[in-house]
Symmetry: C2
Amino acid sequence: MYVTLSAENRPVPELPQPARSVRHAPLTRLGTGQHLYREGDPVERLYQVVSGVVRLTRMLEDGRRQVIAFGYPGDIIGFPADGCHHTDCDALVDTTLRSYRRAALDHGDGDPELHLALLQAALREISAMQDHVMMLGQKSAAERVASFLNVVTRKYGADLGPCRQIELPMCRNDIADFLGLTTETVSRAFTSLRKAGVIALDGAQTITVLEPDTLEELALGSD
Amino acid sequence: MYVTLSAENRPVPELPQPARSVRHAPLTRLGTGQHLYREGDPVERLYQVVSGVVRLTRMLEDGRRQVIAFGYPGDIIGFPADGCHHTDCDALVDTTLRSYRRAALDHGDGDPELHLALLQAALREISAMQDHVMMLGQKSAAERVASFLNVVTRKYGADLGPCRQIELPMCRNDIADFLGLTTETVSRAFTSLRKAGVIALDGAQTITVLEPDTLEELALGSD
DNA sequence: CGACTCCTTGAGCAGCTTCAATCGATGTGG
DNA sequence: CCACATCGATTGAAGCTGCTCAAGGAGTCG
């Protein structure tokens, strides 16, 4: 998932139309917690999440971890830089992925349609990462949490009339590492939103956004 | 410039070999402060910085600004996402750029060599943005400033035997907005490095790294 | 020389983290 | 079926990092 600041400006990116050859693209299954690849691995294939959710992470030597992105259905992951992966990728829940040969990105591999779709995905990823940079560099803890919930519920949540609901597959710690915060700060922000009546919590994972517009305002940091 | 955490692992990205057709790529000149494009503009061309330095920025409604990257010679800038620019780009000093038609990225435009070079640049940019995310999400102010100086001096500085020297074209405020800090905090970090004997300052813009290895350790956050 | 801009430095404060304890849900064994 | 262990989430209290506000210094340009 690429939690962007400008999610509201763009349509939900639908699954790129499977190109003709895509029907032949093999599926990969990943159990909860299983790794798809690790930082430093050579890139042989790209993947599109079909179902489930994956987590892309990077580590520092001393153990600090950054969650770079969450991969939701439709997202393309595994772009190489200098031929190898620069994140770890593992599954938050049982996940199915469609895999493509790296050559499909590099030179089309006989399928210009797929080639273009992968290229577009890479370009969108640049923009998504820039959104993330903007968020981490400029936004407060409350704004980051609101941004995260705003995007994830709008893109992947269920429409309940005035409300939106979603089941979060990641724990507070994952959200914290995604937002550059601590678990405690994320938790406090959730509580604060709940007490303000903007969201409701049913257990820790199920979020109902009672006031989507308020949430969006908070996300944008309008005072 | 894409100040990465892992700059030391990679060779300085040389100017991609000008493909045959590149000789015909037109040059653009940009005076100090001039804009090359703005957020929302449709992308017609991509650019490679030939000389000078540009600044890529994004704004929030309330005026908060994030410097996404500094574009140094060799860097490719202007990648489209959904057909338009998602940053502003302006010149920190007089700058020359080589421009390419967007079609060269999209489908090669009759030059597969150039097509591949642009694609590789886009993929490296994803990785660079991830480095930036890691830095903003996990590193302290001192580590960020050390990372910035470490990368910029190693990639673009002059080799003075044991030392490295560089003239910074950007002001403290630009660095602050790049690192997600305030001008004051950046200034204090510079002073602290100077007092520790790691760097020397000759005026505000000229930095000499007296102890490159110490600087790198500080950048990586090894305690 | 004076005006302007940018950089530096200081003091106080706020926001987020750290450390620690409790709560709550889930699962296991008696 | 219930007691208990475990793990993640929440809450509280205290501390530190980085921000805000303010003043002074340094370099630049008319």
